[in-house]
């Protein structure tokens, strides 16, 4: 009972946090883009425009929902959910902080459960700690492509179809690089558990960004492609495809696609943090308590989230053949070579 309550509480906290971060990212995107272009950005709703995501949400809810004629109604409706849910699911295994000791709170008389002792257990700040959380994340995040493909196909529109075709080709190509660059970390750590990977980087010197710089660069670039962000946003590609796979979507369905995209970005930033810059470990303070580890994790993640926006407003979009060439001719080979060298070094017992 106690465990269940704690897990429920963690689910509430972490999902609430994730949705809030995703909402704030839409604001941050507009703010940072404005600053880069010498503008001010949204500043009318709330202080510094902080309530802008709320206003956007209210607007989205009241918008008319248009289902195009000839669209496959069922798939059209289910596609935004398929795009958003996998991105949100992956956050379940990310370790946000180390162990938390919940103090004894005494016995309470709960409805349905009778008298229950609350508190007095040690837990970790992640919804669940899987042994194979890396595999789980890669498998589930790969599912989000179905939402984009189905959304594009079910809309009965050529722009949407082209957008989703591009997106699928791109995501499949870059998933290889993503996984292969992660595998070299897994080889080094000898574990598929994200928490152990984070714990293996207790000090700054142990961060995998120093031991695996190539994997870091490949992983970061692949996350941009995986989340359909600039300079690889071929799924949307406004000047060529109107809006890409979500051309025909309106109202909350459209918002759900974007929620999924921003959730995926947040998760990818969390993953980069965990894999390469020590996760929740605090620099120069190896056994920091959880309430220091959590902000440390958030600061590191915030940097990568900022990087997503920063790159978007800096680099122009690739051409599609360049994108494919980059993936298959360069990144895949580099990632394979990196994995091979890491395996060789591991077999020789260098680390």
């Amino acid at each position: 009972m106690n465990e269940t309550l704690v897990t429920l509480l963690k689910i509430l906290l972490i999902y609430g946090g994730l949705i809030n971060v995703a909402a704030l990212m839409t604001l941050a995107e507009r703010k940072v883009s404005a600053w880069i272009q010498f503008r001010i950005g949204p500043n009318r709703v709330g202080p510094w425009g902080l309530l802008q995501p709320l206003a956007d949400g209210v607007k989205f809810i009241f918008k008319e929902e248009v289902v195009p004629e000839g669209a496959n109604k069922f798939l059209f409706r289910i596609a935004p959910m398929l795009a958003a849910i996998p991105a949100m699911l992956t956050v379940a295994v990310i370790p946000f902080a180390g162990e938390i000791r919940i103090p004894e709170l005494g016995t309470f008389d709960l409805p349905f459960f009778g008298p229950t002792e609350l508190g007095g257990i040690t837990t970790t700040l992640s919804i669940t700690d899987l042994d194979i959380s890396v595999l789980f994340i890669l498998a589930v995040s790969g599912l989000s492509i179905y939402g984009i493909i189905l959304g594009g196909w079910a809309s009965n529109s050529k722009y949407s179809l082209l957008g989703s075709l591009r997106a699928s080709a791109q995501m499949i190509s870059y998933e290889l690089t993503l996984m292969l660059s992660l595998l070299s970390i897994v080889v080094m750590t000898g574990s598929l558990d994200l928490r152990e990977i984070a714990l293996a980087q207790g000090t700054i010197g142990q961060w995998h960004i120093w031991t695996q710089p190539l994997a870091f660069v490949l992983f970061v670039i692949a996350t941009f492609a995986e989340t359909n962000r600039h300079p690889f946003d071929f799924a949307e590609c406004e000047p060529e495809l109107v809006g890409g796979f979500h051309t025909e979507y309106s109202s909350m369905k459209f918002a759900l696609f974007f929620l999924g995209e921003y959730c995926a970005m947040t998760v990818m930033a969390c993953l980069t943090t965990t894999f390469f810059i020590g996760g929740f470990s605090v620099p120069f303070w190896p056994d920091a308590p959880w309430f220091v580890q959590l902000p440390a994790f958030m600061v590191k993640t915030a940097f990568f989230l900022f990087l997503f926006i920063w790159v978007r407003w800096t680099l122009p979009r690739f051409r599609f053949d360049q994108l494919m060439g980059l993936s298959w001719k360069w990144f895949l080979n580099l990632a394979l070579a990196n994995l091979f060298l890491t395996g060789l070094a591991s077999a020789l017992g260098w680390f």
Partner: protein, 173 residues
């Protein structure tokens, strides 16, 4: 025919990463530069002597209009925005407009009425804002158009200065 020879890139340039970092540093520095956004309703547009806003009628000190309803501005108006009905009065200036209407939705702020006016009675004010809920509401009558001399002084001085320049440089003088 033009043959464009593309520059062969060396391996360092083909990496692209150094250039990407240069671009990123540029955008990052730009984030801290001064914003050029004007917060419009709170921060009004700059108004100078040459600002050519909506036309307004000059009201003399004794409270009557300088306009004698000659109809020259009506004739000069390229957008047919002005409608004038004249009438006789007991004042020293014996004519004044009974009806003087400018359809602000038609007005293109060209300033021809100001140039055409022989009595210096209509001037382009520095008022630029125009908003309303009906089209009828945007047809401004005398009550909405009359302005005291002080409100138009900047534009009046400017127009006199420009006209003087023309007079002084005229070959017929």
């Amino acid at each position: 025919m033009v043959i464009v020879k593309r520059k062969e890139l060396n391996w360092y340039e083909r990496l692209y990463l150094p250039e990407i970092f240069r671009a990123l540093s540029l955008t990052f520095r730009n984030m801290f530069k001064k914003n050029i956004t004007r917060q419009y309703p709170e921060e009004p547009l700059p108004k100078t002597a040459v600002t050519r806003g909506q036309p307004r009628l000059l009201e003399l000190e004794e409270g009557s209009l300088a306009c004698v309803s000659c109809g020259l501005c009506e004739a000069a108006c390229p957008a047919y925005a002005i409608t004038i009905d004249g009438a006789e009065t007991e004042n020293f200036i014996e004519r004044e407009p009974k009806r003087f209407e400018i359809d602000m939705l038609r007005c293109i702020l060209c300033g021809f009425c100001e140039e055409a006016c022989p009595k210096d009675a209509i001037f382009m004010s520095d008022e630029l804002e125009l908003a309303g809920f009906t089209r009828q509401g945007q047809v401004f009558g005398i009550d909405k158009l009359r302005r005291p001399r002080a409100a138009l002084q900047k534009r009046i001085d400017y127009v006199y200065r420009i006209n003087d320049r023309w007079r002084n440089s005229s070959s017929t003088q």
